[in-house]
Symmetry: C2
């Protein structure tokens, strides 16, 4: 191919990567030969030579989740525009598959959406890491997220403003940093508003609709049951309301419910869900930009939490008691 154009491989390389660095006549000849042979540059070889992968890895638990997919889409958009490929990996796989990821030369950086990983594994990675939404206390990694404690407080305040005094809690999976922060926000706000924290009103969940549905039964069986529910996720809120409906209890008639996340379906649920909006696309975008900037500058991404604003969205699932 290089010989067909009568030039060296170096010239072909130059023509393709920086055409202005090459004579017009030569360029024409090379381009012609390229067209004639159907030559395709082997990006893998170029990447090896330049010692970069031109790819970033997105590591998340539960890729099927609608919460993550919006983030993934935003990341892909930003990375794609920067010429980087996005590789997807489920963070729940065996940890011996996770170790090599950050140091096998096939990725330039990692976007970590799972705060539950073994810190030792993360520490072993040699590429820059930016966390999204979740974080790890053990490591001082840069993180793009929201203020979950304050945000959860918004929801509780809203319920309290509506006159609710007995407010129950459907939490997230134990051990998860978001669960902990949101639970803390719930407790703090309840205390601040002088509302009772009854043990029987603390229901555990795992962010899923199934867990919300399960909680509905527990709630319904509670003596002097709560008049409002604050949930650690929209999915559990939706599951809760749905199960209530099946039990003949209606939201907001019999119980007010507030969610957390503002996933796409919440707005269209019946009733539409009052919830705390998480700017998922912005989170993904910002994290990706952060990581890419670090790759381009060669400096590590700015450590510390970067907080994006979240806000309460009041809809039909909550009403005055």
């Amino acid at each position: 191919m290089a010989r067909l154009a009568g030039v060296s491989t170096a010239t072909v390389s130059r023509t393709l990567s920086r055409p202005e660095k090459v004579g017009a006549a030569t360029r024409a000849r090379v381009m012609q030969a390229v067209a004639a042979t159907g030559y395709r540059l082997n990006a893998a070889a170029r990447d090896l030579r330049q010692r970069r992968a031109r790819a970033i890895t997105l590591l998340a638990p539960n890729l099927a989740n609608t919460y993550f997919s919006r983030i993934v889409a935003a990341v892909q958009e930003v990375a794609g525009a920067a010429g980087l490929r996005v590789q997807l990996l489920d963070s729940q796989v065996e940890s011996d598959r996770l170790g090599p990821v950050g140091s096998d030369g096939r990725t330039d950086g990692i976007l970590l959406l799972d705060g539950g990983l073994d810190p030792e594994i993360v520490r072993g990675w040699t590429v820059p890491v930016v966390m999204v939404c979740e974080w790890m206390d053990a490591l001082g990694l840069p993180c793009v997220g929201t203020d979950n404690v304050a945000a959860m407080g918004l929801a509780v305040d809203h319920l309290a403003d509506l006159g609710h005094r007995r407010i129950a809690w459907i939490g997230g999976p134990p051990g998860n940093v978001l669960s902990a922060a949101r639970a803390e926000g719930f407790t703090a706000a309840m205390t601040r508003r002088g509302l009772p924290l009854r043990d029987r009103d603390r229901l555990t969940g795992d962010f899923t609709m199934a867990s919300g549905a399960c909680a509905a039964h527990l709630w319904a069986a509670t003596p002097e049951r709560a008049t409002a529910i604050a949930c650690a996720s929209d999915e559990s809120a939706l599951g809760f309301i749905s199960e209530c409906d099946r039990m003949g209890l209606a939201c907001p008639r019999d119980v007010s419910v507030a969610g957390f996340d503002d996933i796409d379906f919440s707005e269209r649920f019946i009733p539409p869900l009052t919830t705390v909006h998480q700017p998922r696309a912005a989170l993904g975008r910002r994290a990706a930009e952060q990581l890419i900037a670090a790759l381009e500058s060669g400096e590590p991404p700015p450590a510390g939490r970067q907080i994006l604003p979240s806000r309460l969205v009041v809809r039909g699932s909550t009403r005055a008691v």
Copy 2:
């Protein structure tokens, strides 16, 4: 590192890839040196040498969509188990970014979830391609999907069995192969059941909740309006029902609605949505297996459509007229 163990790089390579091919003493020495230096095999270099990418690319429109994300997760699972990385790409990006994808040495195969791509681009790819859900008539590509025509018929039959005679249709985006097949299924079933196909009952949509909501207004304004709606997607069905609710019309009291896809939220919607189940995880899994088998055998994946079964799931959104 090789010199630290007092062996050649070839031996290190052997020790790491096929330990049994190397003497026990040497192996021990190498492993020790590996541990001491924190040596990491550079997968990119290995892949170049072996002329493979150890990765497959998933090309889909609208990565944020919950319909796709389940497929993505299944693909990742299968590919991960086979030691392949999954790269994500939005098929809606400029086509000049799509061309190189299938022939730049950075991917071994492509899973294509978008039937709307320019066939010329696809034809230019040099790696094997398997289509998922959608297909392209112009190319004889292997495809894993469901029988959309028959499946849509299931939904119409169900509505007809319930006594509905005026059944409206909310379609998908024009030009999409799934839209066409599902519309065909609707029309065929209506005809077969001897039901009237009125122009005013054919509403177009684009699979989204917003389009379903929009259709609700059109439907409500129709004289002698339909008593049932068949939708080309769950999202549009949910949007329709939700908007009806806002207009003071209830499902299934005032209108029966059937969806298509059986996304996770449909089961928990109020009312739970009657719909046609699409085995999304199985589709993703099967397609990935198909592609990977082709990569391992060196033979192209079996051409032709591979049909996975779909079934009607009757829930609360439909009832006798």
